[in-house]
Symmetry: C2
Subunit: 218 residues, 2 copies
């Protein structure tokens, strides 16, 4: 299948969130991994729960609220300075080492980011990364989070291509399957070797890293 | 505030799901706690993700699929017989020890269960418990899971009472706050001493056990 456009998830797919865990560890030695896991879990839960409650809030707010919850749950005191430093990490994440060369090889395609991240988080991040895309699309435009079909529809509309001619690339299994449910052609970057989620759909291809994408597509 | 009706969540609020963990442990010694935690996490994630994807499936199916995922993730072989045995546990859960006496003291109120559980799971469970309610309401009627407002609206419609005159009782923080967002008067049974979720609402009261509810209400 030849594709008209490629759409990438941001956090965990293009950008490695590991540096956030390191910063957690520097603030609370011995607790960094537990905190960053609890934070990420709560962050995602809040995106789903707020979406279902019809109480959308920007990802930056959800991320701060999830951090406050996770610190309280683990008995860690969180100062405003620490919260600002940790939120600041989200604007300085490293791209995975295979991203720049993969994007270069795929430069014949229209490319976009489709992210839960609110513009205040994603725009500085993309800017500092030096990567370039034809569009950076945030769920902020539809005020509901992934995997709601309204989110994927945003990419289809902006890229003016039929859904199955849009290749969607994500390392989050549930995001990949939400995109598949919508009708995209889906490449799941399964870095961790996780099982396929049981959500009634399968990705079109499962890759170990983003570096494998050009070969599959070209 | 005097209330017209009381609505209870089922799993974790009225019924103790601990026996499921014991059965997991009997099948996979040393892994029971890890499996039952992973299973429960995935079960809830799938309810939220399927709801957002607009791909509702009954809770019995979601629960089976979450078990299959959790076993694969932990490298555990799962036979059909084991799956049937574990699903069977869900129809035989014990009520918490304080439930029967609390319900008796509250017998002046109309009472209902409002649950994610599909009728094939919840009806046998309620029957074997010996507890009685004026209504047992399943999200199956609206084909979306908690905390979507459509679910709480189901209880309001069935009980024909204004939302703020319905007392909603749940041990799941996000369920309690979803009900609060809808307009119910909410009692969060915080058995585990967890922090309040940051979802933009607060429960009307936080209780340590269901046994404290009659005193608060009467």
């Amino acid at each position: 299948m030849s594709l008209d456009a490629l759409v990438f998830d941001a956090y965990g797919t293009l950008f490695d969130v590991h540096s956030v865990a390191s910063r957690c560890e520097s603030f609370w030695p011995g607790k960094g991994a537990a905190l960053s896991t609890a934070w990420r879990v709560k962050q995602l839960e809040y995106t789903w729960q707020r979406s279902l409650m019809q109480r959308y809030a920007p990802f930056s707010q959800v991320t701060r609220e999830a951090l406050a919850y996770a610190c309280e749950a683990l008995g860690l005191q969180l100062t405003v300075t620490q919260m600002e430093a940790l939120m600041g990490e989200y604007q300085m994440l490293s791209a995975y080492p295979d991203v720049a060369s993969a994007l270069e090889k795929l430069s014949g395609h229209k490319t976009a980011i489709l992210t839960n991240g609110s513009p205040d988080m994603i725009e500085p991040l993309v800017k500092q990364s030096g990567l370039s895309f034809d569009a950076v699309l945030s769920v902020e435009a539809v005020k509901i989070f992934k995997p709601a079909p309204q989110v994927y529809a945003l990419a289809r509309t902006q890229l003016t291509a039929p859904a199955n001619r849009i290749g969607f690339v994500s390392s989050n299994g549930w995001d990949a399957l939400g995109a598949k449910s919508f009708g995209f052609t889906v490449y799941w970057i399964n870095r961790a070797g996780a099982p396929v989620d049981r959500l009634g759909f399968k990705p079109d291809a499962i890759l170990k890293s983003l570096g494998d994408l050009p070969e599959v597509l070209l």
